[in-house]
């Protein structure tokens, strides 16, 4: 057993003497004695060697797929070696929120750099220091857009269902009226959107590419939203943004998204990273931490937590969000990733993703019975019909390939830059074989 307590018996005796008590138990005198725990019903502590072996053993009960053709909100991308090296630096790992700016310049500067990169990627003016994940970023955006007379939120049915679930939770919590705009041919039904939004519309939320991988006409969605006097929130895939139009180019007021593709492993769903960026006009509505540049008493450039009066520790029950942390280490991961990849590397990765996805789609749809479900442009995910779905997916699984995700519309496939042509050909051959 170890408890990482560094004091020995004699130190403890000295401390007790200084306090003026004879035992540690006396320090708990305020606790009603009938409440004291006799002994926890837990295993005894273990040596590091035993714990290490046990965790290894548990981890091996999971299956690590060599080839991953599944996305749906979690994407397997290449993580440059330098990313892991930087993000395991002990100072950065073991520090906390940079309350004391003078000894936290490293954290503060790295977040300032992160904010800049997120602004660049999304085309927006201002970014916060990050929130928990893409789903909560979307959910937090609703509160940003609400005004006294504009209280209703609208969301497309084509967003990731997990994100939709979280937005629903946040809206039902605060009593915000949320309407889901139906899907039509894999895209947001624009006529339904037009008809739904009235003068009390606060915002409309959609995703690009959407859950089915489809690229929607977000410019038109922005126009419809703005015509109703509401704000347009676009949830974007960050890798796609190196190649495809930015939320700003579509006319979005708020850009949010899941930052996991920027250097974070799949990790069974977390920790990930929610990014949020907006226009200067709406910067004070952004939730969460924001870092700003300033100078010290000698005029030297430095960074501080700023615009804090928006936040819960000052505004308390009047704050529009309760968030009091960010995913700092994940934001750092994303920064190092983007810095390592650079503009060209990001574009290359995006291009590899879309090229390989299109290759897989072509190869799969050449097989009888496998067809594209939506006739629409896509980035790196697409939906096909798939006969003998379970059989095909388990045949792939047996070959170490995690196939597409079964959804209501068909099987949702995803290809990223880490998958080689040889792996794709192998997958296609297996599908062909099962369907032959």
């Amino acid at each position: 057993m170890g408890s990482y307590v560094p004091s020995g018996i004699s130190e403890r005796q000295e401390m007790l003497k200084k306090i003026g008590v004879s035992s540690v138990e006396e320090l708990y005198a305020a606790v009603p004695s009938e409440m004291l725990v006799g002994s926890l019903d837990l295993p005894e502590g273990k040596s590091e060697l035993e714990v290490s072996a046990l965790m290894q053993e548990i981890s091996e009960k999971n299956k690590v797929f060599k080839t991953v053709l599944r996305g749906a909100g979690a994407y397997k991308h290449y993580i440059p070696a330098v990313v892991k090296s930087v993000t395991s630096k002990e100072q950065l790992v073991t520090a906390y929120t940079p309350y004391q700016a003078e000894i936290s310049q490293g954290i503060l500067q790295s977040i300032f750099e992160y904010q800049t990169m997120i602004c660049e990627l999304t085309g927006m003016d201002v970014s916060n220091a990050s929130v928990y994940d893409g789903a909560t970023a979307m959910a937090e955006s609703v509160a940003m857009c609400k005004e006294r007379k504009k209280t209703k939120a609208y969301i497309s049915a084509t967003v990731n269902p997990q994100y939709l679930a979280v937005v629903k939770t946040y809206c039902s919590a605060s009593g915000t009226d949320l309407t889901v705009i139906p899907e039509k041919d894999g895209k947001t039904d624009m006529e339904a959107l037009k008809a739904a939004m009235g003068a009390d519309a606060a915002c409309f939320l959609s995703q690009q590419p959407n859950f089915y991988g489809v690229m929607e006409d977000c410019t038109a969605l922005a126009e419809i939203t703005h015509a109703a006097g509401a704000k347009y929130v676009l949830c974007a895939n960050p890798i796609s943004l190196a190649l495809c139009k930015t939320p700003r180019e579509y006319g979005a007021d708020v850009a949010v998204g899941e930052g996991q593709p920027l250097g974070m492993p799949l990790s069974f769903g977390g920790p990930y990273l929610g990014f949020m960026a907006t226009t200067t006009a709406m910067q004070r509505k952004l939730p969460g931490r924001i870092i700003g540049e300033t100078v010290d008493v000698e005029g030297k450039r430095g960074y501080v937590l700023t615009l804090q009066a928006r936040e819960q520790h000052i505004r308390r029950e009047k704050a529009s969000s309760n968030i009091c942390s960010n995913q700092a280490l994940c934001a750092l991961t994303a920064s190092v990733y983007m810095a390592a990849m650079g503009k060209d590397g990001m574009k290359q990765a995006a291009k590899l993703c879309t090229s390989k996805a299109h290759y897989l789609a072509e190869q799969l749809t050449a097989i009888a019975g496998v067809e594209m479900v939506f006739d629409a442009p896509y980035f790196h995910e697409f939906v096909t019909t798939l006969p003998k779905q379970n059989e095909v997916l388990s045949a792939l699984e047996n070959a170490g390939i995690l196939g597409g995700l079964p959804t209501e519309k068909g099987v949702l496939w995803c290809v990223t830059e880490v998958v080689t042509k040889a792996e794709l050909d192998k997958a296609v051959a297996i599908v062909k074989e099962v369907l032959a």
């Binding site: 004070r284 615009l307 804090q308 009066a309 000052i314 505004r315 009047k318």
Partner: protein, 125 residues
């Protein structure tokens, strides 16, 4: 403390200046700005918004605090001071020139104090 005699004051530290045309200006007192410290942001209503006596119509932020600004009257906003919104420091520099809103159609009034009464109130705080 130098609180102009021609103004009215509230216990929540706002001042009200009644104009001859029936409108009035509302601002923050010297005491309020000193307590809050360097103001960095002012969140004002827009023209046409109704304000209610004793209810918040704006908030002001310093680096480490935020405070509601209550209206001394029930009325309608006819003008907001954009200069103060652009440069909140003006409230710190000259609180009695830096009005926040101008109101008209005054229907109701909160409890108002004279400059002497307000000073006595602040002394006892």
């Amino acid at each position: 403390m130098n609180n102009p005699k021609n103004l009215f004051y509230t216990k929540s530290h706002e001042w009200l200046k009644k104009n001859e045309d029936g409108t009035a200006y509302v601002g923050l007192t010297d005491f309020a700005q000193a307590e809050l410290g360097d103001l960095v942001f002012v969140n004002l209503p827009v023209e046409g918004d109704p304000v209610t006596a004793d209810e918040a119509f704006a908030d002001v932020e310093s680096v480490k605090a935020v405070s509601d600004v209550n209206s001394p009257v029930t009325a309608t906003v006819v003008a907001v001071n954009d200069e103060v919104a652009d440069e909140p420091a003006k409230i710190n520099e000259s609180p009695y020139d830096a009005w926040l809103i101008q109101v008209a159609d005054i229907e109701d009034t909160a409890e108002l104090l004279s400059a002497e009464e307000y000073e006595a109130f602040v002394e006892n705080q």
